[in-house]
């Protein structure tokens, strides 16, 4: 489990996260449908969260929960960094919140114009 495809595990996770971010970005930039754009943002956010978790990984580490498998004395040597894990919880909740708000706006926009194409909402410009 230490290495996969010749890469350290966290590296793989990091790359996965970043690729997910890129996919999300592509979705945001290319899809015309607002719901798809929101999915793009979700992917973007999820990718970011994966990167977060990846950066917290410590070679050979395990979950930072003190129990029989991980006695207090060994925690320093064998646990992953708990900080990114704590941060990611907050980040996920915030990501969820943003998605919920965006979806509410999408529904309101649809009610207003009966379309979900982002190109239809250019009332104010220049």
């Amino acid at each position: 489990m230490e290495r996969a495809m010749g890469l350290p595990i966290s590296h793989l996770l990091l790359v996965t996260g970043l690729v997910l971010v890129l996919i999300g970005m592509w979705g945001v930039l290319v899809h015309r449908n607002i719901l798809r754009i929101i999915i793009g943002f979700s992917l973007f956010g999820t990718g970011t969260h994966i990167v977060l978790v990846a950066t917290g990984y410590v070679t050979g580490g395990t979950a930072p929960i003190i129990d029989r498998a991980l006695p207090v004395g060994e925690a320093g040597a064998r646990a992953v960094d708990p900080v990114p894990s704590a941060l990611v919880v907050t980040a996920i909740v915030i990501g969820f919140s943003v998605t919920a708000i965006m979806l509410s706006y999408a529904i309101r926009l649809y009610e207003a114009r009966k379309t979900l194409s982002i190109d239809a909402f250019t009332e104010s410009k220049w």
Binding site: S97, V98, M102, L109, F121
Partner: protein
């Protein structure tokens, strides 16, 4: 106990606790949420205010630990002076904003809790010392904002909100990514620890992380061109919400940037460039906006960019101690002025600028509106003025001339669109507003004006210019404003009394040339202002502004530092601008007048700043010893004064303003206000000569003066409107003065002052005579009158005295002045300008004859048979001025001796002319020879003109004056085509075109905006990562 309640942590308890409680309270009673909301919001403001008060009293910064544990383990917060100032300002604005929005907010308790938590979130962004916590607060603020956008009910506002969400979510995602990567490289989230471990932030991971965090903050501040989403929200959101985003959210983000700035230390230039681009382009684009809120949005973005620009540049130069005045002042100014304007826009509820004819909204409304515009434009007496002055000074000290140019040019553009808006608003239109804006709606904006005024006083104190006499003109104006309910004549009288009393007090202790000028301008001003008694109407605002204007003249002459000088200069500009705006006819030219005045002021400002940089002090007396290094400063100061004088090429604003202003105010503009710039030029020349700087340029100035004289004389000759003719004549006469000043000799300067006095008297009379004619006949065209000498003999008599004196015919003062000037030019060997001067004198003779002839001689029109003599209120001041002319003509030494003495004592020996007695001056020059030459030339010219007249004469026309002068039209053809006007017209079209092109980036499509945001991040990344690599090789 009280101290315990006033802890900064309680801000969060009130915000969060209040927010959580509101739904519960709603279940208990429908009224309770409102009570809780106001209690919590007011509590937050009070706590931040109390904390700031204690900090100002010297208390240590409040350090707040959460979880009973010290950082970096737990999150900590700090409330120091800077934090306290920002938090208190934002909370105060939030309180006023809630008042403004109240009718919308109370619809639903959801809005109440969103608003409350939003305010708390901004406080959190300001106070937190933990990077991830900053992210959380950023999100709290963002999400509360997204929710509050729900107050907008239109489709456009929903769409705008969605675009805003797209852009800011991208930005905050980058912040999150950057934060975690920064933790990865530094091993801490505490901002203080991170700053201490700045060195660890290197390598690909660290650099990328830094760029991402920086990019988020920069993007949240809406950089051009990735800011269309911001503009859309400013345009479509309810005004109160737009105000909150503009001042509240931006304040939080700005403070976050400020806090993290040490991390970005190597990239300060990049930040500054980004801000400069945004500042310039936002103001450019503002020119073309037709929607009030969108235009205010442009201004908001620009102001925040200016803040960032100032911050980055000051930090780069290590000028940390200047931050409170500059950044604090600009922030305070933007916060309250912009919020106030948004609230006013919300109260008026007119989206299109062209629908803003709000004159009927009432005088208090207009007063508040004007004050806020003045504040935004960075004009005195508001904090923005002092901050901008200090900023330009500091930039000049470090040679940042390009930055100064950006700041001032952008400010000019901003003033252009803001006052364009004012012009529209002041224009009486068909669709007036339904009625007055109720006091309740006006209150938040009025409170902003009050706060800005207080802020201005504090800033002036910090800047070191808080003397009573400097602010006396404004106090006098404010006092007279209280008495605006009186009848017109009573107001005029009280104004005269106030100006006399305050002026007499202020004039004391002004010595030398300044003293002479002060007495001259004050007494001349009082005499001409007294003519206002001929009108009995209320003239709302006119007399307070007149008092400000007249007293500021004195303040300018009393100034002992360049800051005081500039302050008074700007107040004079503002007072005259608003006095123009009071007249229906002149509203159209107000903008042009203001823009040229500001351009002049900015040249002056730059000059003064450079002078400060090379001399090391703002003390005006030190300018005398500046030495040749100060030459660029003197050149800029002289240029500024010449723009304000209106020398040929930049004169386009002058005739229009003089012709369209109220008739008695035209007299004031020409006779008194115009002399202020002459004084500026005089002082610049004097000091340049004393410090051996810029003497070579004097010859160019001399040429400019004489060209102005000649061209303006020709232009005067072809005017049909009598006031316009007098305006060009005024310009032409001022040209002589410029040349006299440029002679850089004792004789030249004595002459200049003599001419100034003469012109003040003459033009006062002539404009008042024109006022009398217009008052009695209602006619402005010269040729429409005629024969009025019979009906208005006294007016005719004084006009003739003035014309004779102006033309330079013996024996009146003008003769002495021209004599002196010609002699001085001969002495310096300036034969080219001399020839021009002679030509101008000839042409001048023509237009003066025309004036007298067309108005007073010839056949009387039948409809004028019953005309009465001019009112005594106009005649008396004219007679006083005539008395002045006679005094000056027959006892010239009364003026010349003190003038000569004032120039003498400090005079350096480097000059061509040593101080001489007047007898010597008259004797030095061989009058006979030169007189013969002049007479010969004049005869030659007269013969030529006569021949021309004979050749082209057509019998049918010979009778009327119109016919008489029409023969010279072909002769004037070359100057008829007003190149200057066409040039400035083209400039304005080009700038407008550029604005139109630049704003094409805002397609209105959320996806394009997202693309722009992402591209902006890439550009920042490129500059941070790639450029140093390329540069470093």
């Amino acid at each position: 106990m009280v101290e315990g309640l006033l802890q900064p942590l309680n801000i969060f308890l009130l915000g969060l606790g209040g927010g959580f409680l509101i739904p519960l309270l709603y279940r208990l009673s429908k009224r309770l949420p409102a009570v809780a909301f106001w209690a919590a919001l007011a509590g937050i403001a009070v706590i931040s205010g109390a904390c700031l008060w204690r900090l100002l009293g010297g208390a240590d910064a409040f350090e707040i630990q959460t979880a009973g544990t010290a950082p970096p383990l737990a999150i900590s917060l700090r409330l120091g002076l800077a934090e306290g100032f920002f938090a208190f300002c934002v909370n105060l604005a939030a309180l006023l904003g809630a008042l403004h929005l109240w009718r919308r907010l109370r619809d639903s308790y959801t809005f109440l809790l969103l608003y409350l938590i939003l305010v708390m979130g901004i406080n959190g962004m300001i106070m937190t010392r933990d990077l991830f916590n900053l992210f959380v607060f950023l999100e709290i603020v963002s999400i509360a904002t997204y929710g509050l956008f729900g107050l907008g009910q239109t489709r456009a506002s929903l769409a705008g909100a969605f675009k805003y969400i797209m852009a800011t979510v991208l930005a905050s995602s980058f912040f999150l990514l950057g934060t975690v990567l920064l933790y990865h490289v530094t091993g801490t989230l505490s901002i203080d620890e991170m700053l201490a471990r700045r060195d660890l932030i290197a390598g690909p991971v660290g650099t990328t992380a830094l760029v991402l965090v920086l990019a988020c903050l920069v993007i949240e501040l809406k950089p051009f061109p990735a800011n269309g989403w911001g503009l859309d929200v400013y345009e479509t959101a309810p005004a109160g919400v737009a105000a909150l985003v503009s001042v509240g959210v931006s304040a939080g983000v700005f403070f976050a940037l400020f806090k993290l700035m040490p991390l970005f230390a190597p990239h300060l230039t990049l930040v500054a460039v980004s801000a400069a681009v945004t500042f310039l382009f936002s103001n450019l684009i503002g020119l073309r906006q037709t929607n009030v809120q969108r235009m205010l949005g442009c201004s908001s973005i620009a102001q925040m960019a200016l803040l960032v620009l100032a911050l980055a540049l000051l930090l780069r130069h290590g000028e940390d101690e200047a931050l409170p005045l500059i950044v604090g002042g600009l922030f305070f100014n933007h916060l309250f002025a912009k919020a106030g304007l948004f609230w006013l826009a919300g109260a008026v509820q007119r989206q299109r600028i062209r629908d803003w004819n709000v004159l009927s909204a009432g005088a208090p409304f207009i007063l508040v509106f004007c004050s806020l515009l003045v504040a935004i434009a960075g004009l005195p007496p508001f904090p923005g003025f002092w901050a901008k002055w200090e900023l330009v000074l500091r930039l000049a000290e470090h040679g940042g001339y390009a930055w100064i140019a950006v700041v001032l040019f952008g400010s000019l553009l901003e003033a252009a669109y803001l006052f364009q808006w004012f012009g529209r608003a002041a224009k009486a239109g068909r669709r007036e507003t339904g009625g007055r804006v109720p006091p309740w709606d006006l209150f938040p904006a009025a409170a902003c004006v009050a706060l800005l005024t207080i802020g201005g006083v504090v800033a002036s104190w910090v800047a070191g210019a808080a003397s009573a006499w400097l602010h006396a003109p404004l106090f006098a104006g404010a006092a007279l404003l209280m008495a605006e309910g009186l009848p017109g004549r009573a107001k005029c009288l009280s104004m005269l009394l106030v100006v006399f009393a305050a002026g007499a007090w202020m004039v004391q202790g002004i010595g030398g040339i300044n003293g002479l000028f002060a007495v001259l301008l004050l007494s001349g001003g009082l005499v001409i202002a007294a003519a206002g008694l001929y009108r009995s109407d209320a003239r709302l605002g006119y007399y307070p502004l007149m008092a400000v204007l007249l007293l500021s003249n004195v303040a300018l002459l009393r100034a002992s530092t360049s800051l005081e000088f500039f302050f008074a200069w700007e107040i004079i500009t503002l007072a005259s601008t608003f006095m123009l705006a009071l007249s229906t006819a002149a509203r159209g030219v107000m903008l042009q007048f203001l823009l040229f005045s500001l351009a002049s002021a900015f040249l002056l400002l730059t000059g003064l700043a450079i002078a400060r940089a090379v001399i090391g002090t703002t003390d005006l007396s030190a300018f005398l010893a500046a030495g040749p290094v100060a030459a660029p400063a003197f050149v800029l100061i002289a240029l500024g004064c010449m723009v304000k004088i209106g020398v040929i090429g930049v004169h386009v604003w002058l005739p229009a303003a003089y012709a369209k202003a109220d008739d008695d105010f035209s007299a004031m503009l020409s006779a008194v206000v115009g002399k202020v710039a002459v004084f500026g030029l005089f002082m610049a020349a004097y000091q340049a000569a004393r410090s051996d700087a810029g003497l070579e340029l004097a010859r160019a100035v001399g040429w400019i003066g004489m060209l102005t004289t000649v061209v303006a004389a020709f232009l005067a000759l072809q005017q049909a409107d009598m006031k316009r003719m007098l305006a060009y004549s005024s310009l032409s006469q001022t040209g002589y003065i410029i040349t006299a000043v440029a002679l850089m000799s004792h004789l030249g300067w004595v002459t200049a002052l003599y001419l100034v006095a003469n012109h003040l008297l003459v033009k006062g009379i002539l404009f008042l005579a024109a006022a009398a004619v217009i008052e009695r006949t209602g006619l402005k065209r010269l040729e429409a009158c005629g024969g009025l000498a019979r009906r208005m003999p006294l007016t005719f008599a004084v006009a003739i005295v003035a014309l004779v004196s102006m033309s330079g015919l013996p024996p009146l003062a003008g003769f002495g002045g021209k004599w002196l000037l010609l002699s001085a030019m001969v002495d310096r060997g300036w034969y080219g300008p001399l020839a021009l001067g002679v030509l101008a004198t000839l042409v001048g003779l023509l237009y003066m004859v025309r004036f007298g002839h067309a108005v007073f001689l010839g056949p009387l029109k039948p409809e004028h048979a019953e005309l009465r003599e001019a009112p005594a209120a106009l005649l008396v001041p004219q007679f006083v001025l005539v008395a002045g002319i006679l005094l000056l003509s027959f006892f010239p030494k009364l003026l010349m001796d003190p003038v000569s003495a004032a120039i003498d004592p400090q005079f350096a020996s480097t000059l061509v002319w040593q101080g001489m007695s007047l007898e010597l001056i008259y004797a030095y020059w061989n009058p006979a020879r030169a007189m013969a030459g002049a007479v010969g030339l004049a005869l030659l010219g007269a013969v030529l003109l006569w021949i021309f007249y004979r050749i082209s004469r057509r019998p049918s026309r010979s009778g009327s004056p119109t016919g008489f002068f029409s023969y010279y039209r072909p002769l004037l053809a070359p100057v008829l085509a007003s190149h200057a006007e066409r040039f400035w017209g083209a400039v304005s079209v080009a700038v407008g075109g550029a604005a139109g092109t630049a704003r094409r980036v805002y397609t209105g499509n959320g996806q394009t905006y997202a693309l722009q945001v992402l591209a902006y991040v890439l550009v920042l990344y490129f500059f941070v990562v790639a450029v140093p690599m390329l540069g470093g090789g």
